[in-house]
Amino acid sequence: MTAAASPLRHTPLYGEHLALGARMVPFAGWEMPLQFAGIVEEHHAVRRRAGLFDVSHMGRLTVEGPDAAAFLRSLVTYDVARIAVGEGHYAVICRDDGGILDDVYVFRPGEERLLVVVNAANAQRIGEWARARLRQGSRAVLMDRQTETAMLALQGPEAAAHLGALAPAVAQSLAARHCTEVELGGTIAFISRTGYTGEDGFELVVPAADGPGLWRSALGGVERGVQPCGLGARDTLRLEAALALYGNDIDESTNPLEAGLGWTVTFDDGADFVGRQALLRVREAGVARQLACVRALERGVMRAGCPLLHDGRPVGRLTSGGFSPTLGASIGLGYLPTELAAVGTELAVDVRGKPLRAQVVQRPFYKRGKAG
């Protein structure tokens, strides 16, 4: 990615990152921590204990008013009416042709209040795109909440224990994919039991000015064992959990059905969301390719862009790739013709001219145990 001409933006937690000696990198127009202690150490901390991420670079839009749910339903693939107050659901925003504009998380903290968390790189254009679809007279108000808030993700098997020190009732009772609003340190915090790591965890949104205080109390000192984590670990964790990354695994040239996100698409409510007709056609015809989990069977590291070969013939490319600290092997995601996307298909991955033996494996690569 080329450096943007405009100066990099800073989240409300920028000063905290510098104070902790984070290695900062440009990401989607923001100067963000790549790592604090090191990617592998942070990765293991989240898998085994707890880690804290600054995810304030993610866009946050609210849609409020009597028509909020209906308006949002016209934009996203999932039936917003099925999201009860206090719940959230993952969804996709498509173009008319079914190509993915963004993947989002829709929360419903109130009957007529919805929070949409969008990718950093897409935040501005999704906001503008949504606003352009707001009909005159609609009783839905769209607001960009990004600059006025900070967003943190507390993730890991011990996340609930650590949140318990701050918000005991929430830590105890908030179910997975649910959300609530509580008083936290003199401010109102939005808390959801969600994340992007494959672990249990919470995401918290507070007014920007309260971000640094929440960050510090969530870290709670080194002895409490919450590891500050950067974008590096965020990527290795989400890849193990086979969670798609916008711009890599999904983009305007891919549709949610081939990306394995069919579960985020509701057809049977009859709502005419953007992309519905195109996705119905894809569903009828069947997907020609599918996003598959690929695991290397020998040493070496597969990267995004590496060609996938089957019987010596190029059949696709990896859209994500890297090293899995949990598995101790290289893993990746890539689109394969449907007939080759089945678990067990043997592949060769062209790693800079050298073929690496690999195999299609079950999605996800890593799934946390039920206990804990």
Binding site: G38, V40, V301
Partner: protein, 130 residues
Amino acid sequence: MPTPTDRRYTKEHEWVRVDDGVGTVGVTDYAQDQLGDIVYLDLPAAGTPVKQFEKLGEIESVKAVSDLYSPVSGEVAEVNEAVANHPELVNEAPYEEGWLVRVRLADPAELDSLLTAEQYDALIAEAQAE
């Protein structure tokens, strides 16, 4: 970590320490720190001829892959099997247990074209000032 003065350095952040005509090659502390967690090394087998400043192999961190360049010409005499099995040794002890290969030197005079520890430190100070 102080830069050892018993060896020479390349601008590409490799080092070579010569004992009895055999150069032990590794990457610098600065290199391992910049690369981050190292997870794989692609190194030439013993017997492979190598040329000064030409590609020696590849080093993979969680973040990215980088080329390794040979600081000297000669023939690979030995590969560090320990780092092949435990690439994190390069992060933990880049100047000692984390060495990569040993090269039988073809031309010891090549060492004169490499940086001293002092010159290498100056290079890093310059890079960090940017």
